[in-house]
């Protein structure tokens, strides 16, 4: 039963120098094996391994090393029991690791219902990803509104994160679950370790789902007011939050104009940080709008 190929399963064979020269050819034959041949070897490998573990746990000083199983005797050669144990263990370990095969197929839970909406375009998905990392997250509500308006699927890879955030932000949760459709419930059931409910608790007071601020129509006036404030150097950092909300609500058609005009205003130290922030926010929003329009 000692299949000559067995010797070849082991790089250890040559590492130990047990059979020196012809090793490289032997090794070449090592991997693909027929299933019939494998079962025998795997059986004796398990028995060989069990014997070695039993002795190693107590120590070769206290427990004799069992004789090698069929097919594993080439490595039972050292005078020192401890060294022989390590030799034989290496042979088994390498045989098992090199002979690794997939386990039997497992029962799979039902897949999520098919979503017929078009997938979220990669650029939009990446934009959302940046906002979830904290970049201009003031615009999150608008992102969801535009995604819904275009009828895109959510970028599913961020769904767990959105649902987790939704546990503390019911307004966000409401909009995410509306856009996710069946997928949110499916995911909550499929990955219970996520700790998200399949159906959110009924709130005591009704929740307003997250929605973007109403659009400010008179873009021309807003742009000239903001730019004028910077030109007159009356803007300080204290005004920044309010200005950000204005930019987030501005008619998107005016964003590029705002960026251009703000970029050409003179440098003014007290307002500089705010100016840069507004430019970045307006650019970010402008890009987001274009991505959804594409």
């Amino acid at each position: 039963m000692s299949d000559p190929e067995d010797a070849g399963l082991l790089g250890v064979n040559r590492v130990n120098g047990a059979s020196g020269g012809e090793s490289s050819q032997v090794l070449e034959q090592s991997t693909p094996r027929t299933d019939a041949g494998r079962a025998d070897v795997a059986g004796s490998a398990a028995a060989e391994w069990a014997g070695l573990v039993a002795t190693a746990v107590l120590g070769t000083d206290r427990r004799p090393l069992p004789p090698a199983e069929v097919g594993w005797d080439p490595w039972a050669t050292d005078d020192d029991a401890a060294v022989e144990l390590l030799d034989r263990a290496a042979a088994v370990v390498v045989a098992q690791r090199a002979g690794i095969r997939p386990g039997p197929p497992v029962a799979m839970p039902p897949p999520a219902p098919v979503d017929t909406r078009p997938p979220c375009p990669p650029a939009c998905a990446m934009r959302l990803d940046r906002m979830l990392r904290g970049e201009h997250d003031l615009l999150l509500a608008e992102w969801f509104a535009r995604c819904e308006e275009r009828g895109f699927q959510l970028p599913w890879v961020v769904l767990p994160l959105l649902l987790l955030r939704g546990r503390r932000q019911p307004e966000l949760d409401a909009v995410v679950r509306r856009l996710a459709g069946d997928r949110a419930r499916w995911l909550a059931d499929a990955v219970p370790e996520l700790g998200v409910r399949a159906d959110p608790r009924k709130p005591r007071t009704p929740i307003e789902p997250l929605c973007p601020p109403p659009m400010i129509e008179d873009g021309a006036a807003i742009v000239s007011t903001i730019v004028g404030a910077f030109a007159e150097r009356t803007v300080t950092w204290a005004a920044a939050p309010q200005l950000r909300h204005v930019v987030a609500a501005l008619d998107p058609a005016w964003l590029a104009r705002l960026v251009a005009e703000l970029s050409s205003t003179a440098f003014d130290p007290p307002g500089e940080r705010t100016r840069r922030e507004l430019i970045a926010l307006a650019e970010f929003r402008d890009e987001m709008v274009r991505e959804f329009a594409a």
Partner: protein
């Protein structure tokens, strides 16, 4: 009495493949004049290039090398080329030329006493392998005495490593003698002392490995088996690394790399590259002590549908606190020369010349079945049993198997995902319970997913 070497033995003296090739070019009988040999030495004048011919001589009893060329490499390509001619029996016995007679006289009658086994490494960057490998006939071929600083350092390093390997193997046997349940193994300081000793012995690779094994002690009820597995692999490494002279060159190179002796970058870059449109498919970062190691996986498609892909691993290191710079972002295609570190299972590589600007890859890589991917892992482990990770790119469904454990499933079976993988829910959400294209690292614990491709997006996990 010396025996004529074989050409292979001569070439094994070359510090790297490029030097070996250069030596082969020099071994042209037409480029030599006055070549001759006797039973102690071989000599000649190399006339091919210089206005002034180089006087070349090799003392076969050392061996020792002498060449009037400006190269500081010992042996230089002229010495090796001359030896090659001699190995091919194209040098006829003759009377010694005057410079040869003088040189041999200076060397005296006991040349080999002063000669010592010195690895042909440099600052620990190369391999001591050649020492045992390189035999000329019956005489072990040895390097010149360690007169110079670098030579002495190399010698010391080889000795330190050998001592470290012996000590490691003794330590392993002692643990097996005393039993894995003895208190010593549970005591972290037992392992720390061994790791520290290996660091002293300049076997850094083994020290890190020992620390990873130590972390497995007491992890779960059957930890003895995990630890015995790793001790057995360490044993194979310790034994193998002491016997590299008897092993095929590439296996010896792999053993040295695992022990902590890696090839010099320059030598790797001199090797023959594999040129392909490489796809950057995965990236992982792990802290090893105070160093962050960034592993970037490149993949080149196989020749045809059935052929497995070729993998290359590019490592970058950042000292504690310093971010590693990402040279090859995941999702890019890099048309480049990839040079391999010598090993029996070639994975680690350097990117040399790039033939075009890196671009965003338009397509995702072609996945393998789980069965094929594991066969590739198995082949690699058969070649280098101490391999801890091997890449795979598959299309599979993540499915739970209970107790919070998950597997990847396709038509060919199932493969476990590493326990505690914290971004599992994201993969499941993206897959919707259907096959998803995924790249990951296979290890003994399962697949560690690194990248998924979904809806036109490449997502690094």
């Amino acid at each position: 009495m010396t025996v004529t070497p074989t050409p292979d033995q001569v070439l094994s003296l070359a510090p790297n493949r490029a030097a070996a090739m250069a030596a082969t070019a020099v071994a042209d009988p037409a480029a030599w004049s006055g070549a001759g040999c006797d039973d102690r030495a071989v000599w000649g004048a190399y006339i091919a290039t210089a206005a002034e011919p180089y006087e070349v001589a090799v003392d076969l009893s050392g061996p020792a090398f002498r060449c009037s060329c400006p190269s500081r490499r010992v042996p230089c390509k002229h010495c090796l080329g001359l030896l090659l001619l001699h190995a091919n029996h194209t040098v006829a016995p003759a009377n010694r030329l005057p410079f040869v007679a003088q040189w041999l006289q200076r060397r005296g009658d006991h040349p080999s006493e002063a000669a010592v086994a010195v690895p042909d490494g440099e600052g620990g960057e190369e391999m001591p392998a050649a020492v045992e490998r390189s035999r000329i006939g019956g005489t072990t071929l040895r390097r010149p005495p360690p007169e110079t600083g670098p030579d002495k350092r190399r010698l010391e390093r080889a000795e330190r490593m050998a001592a470290g390997l012996r000590e490691l193997d003794r330590w392993l046997a002692d643990r097996v003698r005393g039993g894995l349940t003895s208190g010593e193994l549970m005591d972290e300081t037992t392992w720390d002392r061994l790791a520290a000793r290996l660091v002293d012995a300049q076997c850094g690779g083994l020290a890190n490995r020992v620390r990873r094994v130590a972390a497995k002690v007491g992890q779960h009820a059957r930890w003895h088996e995990d630890v015995l597995e790793e001790m057995a692999i360490l044993h194979a490494l310790a034994v193998g690394a002491q016997r590299t002279g008897h092993l095929p060159v590439e296996l010896a190179d792999g053993l040295h790399a695992a022990a902590g002796l890696t090839s010099a970058k320059d030598d790797v870059l001199e090797s023959v590259p594999t040129t392909a449109p490489w796809l950057v498919v995965g990236e992982s970062r792990i802290g090893e002590g105070r160093i962050t190691v960034q592993r970037t996986w490149l993949m080149a498609p196989g020749e045809d549908e059935a052929a497995p892909p070729t993998w290359a691993l590019v490592l970058a290191f950042g000292a504690f606190g310093n971010e590693v710079e990402t040279e090859f972002p995941v999702g890019q295609r890099v048309h480049a020369d990839v040079h391999w570190y010598p090993a029996a299972a070639r994975l680690r590589a350097l990117v040399g010349r790039q033939h075009a600007e890196p671009v965003r890859a338009a397509t995702a890589p072609v996945p393998q079945t789980l069965a094929d991917a594991l066969v590739a892992c198995g082949w690699a482990i058969a070649r280098e049993p101490w391999l801890e990770r091997y890449p795979m790119c598959v299309s599979a469904v993540p499915a739970p198997v209970g107790n919070g454990r998950w597997t990847l499933v396709d038509d060919t079976g199932s493969v476990p995902i590493v326990p505690g993988f914290w971004r599992l829910a994201e993969i499941v959400a993206a897959s919707a319970g259907r096959p998803i294209k995924l790249m990951g690292e296979w290890s003994n614990e399962g697949v560690q997913p690194l990248t998924i491709w979904t809806d036109g997006q490449v997502i690094s996990l």
